[in-house]
């Protein structure tokens, strides 16, 4: 019964999201595009954080490399948009395989620091390899060609681009959700709770963690591939560790225990940022206070707290 209500609610939300370009101003079309892309980024992060229990401080490496891949494809190859997204995913999956190979053998703190180091290595390369990445200015000035798949879409139109992003994010999230629900996802959750038990059961914990890391990386790359045409630039800031902090904040804000938590977190994060920065410059101060309160008192996040409470009262 309750699950049915939740599904109905989700359908309503998606219907509302589809209707955004007709009911909201231009400004909010941009806001919602950003929420969706960052939500996917945060959801991919939550596969390794919330589900597998690995706190990565270098997730922006995959997000950023995805956006650079998209920018390079659009500038030099002029391939269709969909192919660009696949390239973004492929490149970031490859990078995640390399970085993950080294990182997944380490536990908590060391894992966090090594992912931070690798992330900053990628940042340093993007910053200093001027001939390919254009250094601190980043790659800009690419034009959006065709969409691909025989569809005739004007991607330069923000409303059209919003719908494209919505469709891709919904599909990608459905795939991620199925991954989380599968027996593979169950094993990841078991690893978070007790890696020793899992390895006693005969499973190779490292391999599972690596696969999770690569899947998370490739979906972060997909989000990166979506953000480059949206921002019209792929710049080193997308790779910086402060960018890696955003999905962490979003996951905590929304709740790491539910699949949609990071999306809720992304919406709250972007909307709060928009509203708060309109009357004060110290958005980061507010964010810091909110994060501290969430960590201390509402570790389950907004969605987690609300859902747990709702499941509790109406038995």
């Amino acid at each position: 019964m309750k699950i049915k209500i939740l599904w109905a609610l989700l359908t309503l939300v998606i219907a509302g999201l589809i209707a955004v370009p007709w009911i909201a101003s231009y400004f909010y079309i941009f806001i919602f595009t950003e929420i969706l892309i960052l939500g996917l980024f945060a959801a991919s992060f939550n596969l390794i954080f919330g589900y597998t229990g690995m706190l990565s401080f270098g997730h922006a490496a995959f997000f950023g490399i995805g956006s650079y891949a998209m920018a390079l494809v659009l500038i030099y190859l002029e391939w269709p948009f969909v192919v660009g997204l696949l390239v973004s995913m492929g490149v970031s999956a490859l990078l995640a395989l390399i970085i993950g190979f080294f990182c997944v053998r380490l536990n908590e703190v060391y894992f966090a620091m090594l992912t931070l180091a690798f992330g900053m290595m990628v940042f340093a390369i993007a910053y200093q390899w001027r001939s390919v990445t254009n250094g601190s200015d980043g790659l800009a000035g690419f034009s959006l060609g065709s969409f691909g798949l025989g569809l005739d879409l004007t991607l330069a139109n923000p409303a059209v681009y919003y719908h494209v992003v919505l469709a891709i994010v919904v599909i990608a999230s459905a795939v991620l959700y199925l991954v989380c629900r599968s027996s593979f996802g169950m094993i990841l959750r078991a690893i978070r709770q007790n890696p020793e038990r899992v390895s006693f059961a005969g499973l190779n914990v490292r391999t599972y963690r690596l696969v999770a890391f690569v899947i998370a990386g490739s979906f972060a790359g997909l989000a990166g591939g979506l953000i480059a045409p949206f921002l019209r630039v792929a710049s080193p800031e997308l790779l910086h560790w402060s960018m890696s902090a955003e999905p962490i904040l979003m996951a905590i804000l929304g709740g790491t225990g539910y699949f949609l938590g990071p999306f809720v977190g992304s919406a709250v994060f972007v909307l709060l940022e928009t509203w708060i920065t309109s009357f004060t410059e110290s958005w980061m101060l507010v964010l810091g206070i909110i994060l501290a309160l969430m960590v201390i008192f509402f570790r389950k996040g907004l969605l987690g707290t609300v859902l747990d409470w709702w499941m509790e009262i109406k038995k």
Partner: protein, 289 residues
């Protein structure tokens, strides 16, 4: 002065400054088992407090060197009492997240109080200019940093190995429950150690103030550097912090001079290499999953 000589001197003063900051991070981790993401923000706070005391209040540098770290240590006591006490018993990821929130709060407060522009602190008269040593001219302030680093190193060594307080801290680091049984007030030890770590960060900040321009991003830069130092040296290890700091100092001193195209990459490469071959750091213990 020859290129190698000045690179070496440069490495030493960067390295010893990093040691002062990173050793605080390491002591806090060793006893409290938390990674203080806000450590760099506390370092920045030390530098900015020194700026106010010297440039606005008009105090001499030496008074600022005494007072600014004291102020930061008092703030650290409040942070420990009102925030960190909730998460000591939790997963280590929670301490990373909470101190990260603290970093955001302190960074933004600094920006609000002192502005986002660059501020400059002049070195005291005694340490301005340069000295002639063996026919080459060396900035006096670099020598001061090196002397301060060595003095703190000796002081810390004495504290940990020759005093009762140091033994209590080591006992609490080894086994907190056992220390409790032996009538040690571990609650007090925890607060004291956190404040001491913050004090060290702030001392580093005051010493760094005349060398580097102050800006609200300086804390973020130093926390990454400190992470690299403690990872290279070994998390929670006192000699490891020194070794890691010297190695990173050398990477900066020589990397900036001889490999300018890849100098940003080198520290992270060094850290990744150490983690690959000695996952627990050169002097550390127990890390692999």
């Amino acid at each position: 002065m020859s290129g190698i000589g000045s690179a070496l001197l440069n490495s030493l003063d960067i390295g010893l400054l990093l040691f002062i900051i990173a050793v605080g991070l390491n002591i806090v981790f060793g006893v409290l088992n938390i990674i203080n993401f806000a450590h760099g923000a506390l370092y920045m706070l030390g530098a900015y407090l020194a700026f106010t005391l010297i440039n606005i209040v008009g105090m001499p540098f030496w008074a600022a060197l005494l007072l600014a770290p004291l102020g930061v240590a008092i703030l650290a006591v409040l942070i420990d009492r009102f925030l960190l006490r909730y998460i000591y018993s939790r997963d280590i990821a929670d301490s990373l997240l909470l101190t990260f929130a603290l970093l955001l709060i302190i960074n933004e407060s600094v920006r609000m109080i002192w502005g986002s522009g660059i501020q400059v602190v002049q070195p005291p008269q005694l340490l301005a200019g340069s000295m002639d040593i063996m026919g080459s001219s060396i900035p006096t302030y670099s020598l001061f940093v090196i002397v301060m680093g060595l003095a703190l190193l000796a002081g810390l060594w004495f504290l940990f190995n020759r005093t009762r307080i140091g033994r209590i801290m080591r006992a609490a680091a080894l086994d907190r429950d056992m220390a409790e049984v032996l009538c040690i007030n571990t609650r007090l030890v925890v607060t004291g150690v956190f404040a001491f770590g913050a004090w060290l960060a702030a001392v580093g900040g005051v010493i760094a103030a005349p060398m580097r321009a102050l800006d609200p991003g300086m804390g973020d830069k130093i926390i990454i550097e400190s992470f690299i130092v403690v990872v290279i040296g070994g998390l929670g290890s006192f000699p490891g912090a020194l070794l890691g700091a010297i190695i990173l100092g050398l990477i900066h001193g020589f990397g900036g001079r001889y490999f300018p195209e890849v100098n940003m990459l080198l520290p992270f490469l060094g850290m990744a290499l150490v983690l690959l071959f000695k996952p627990n750091g050169i002097m550390g213990k127990g890390a692999a999953a």
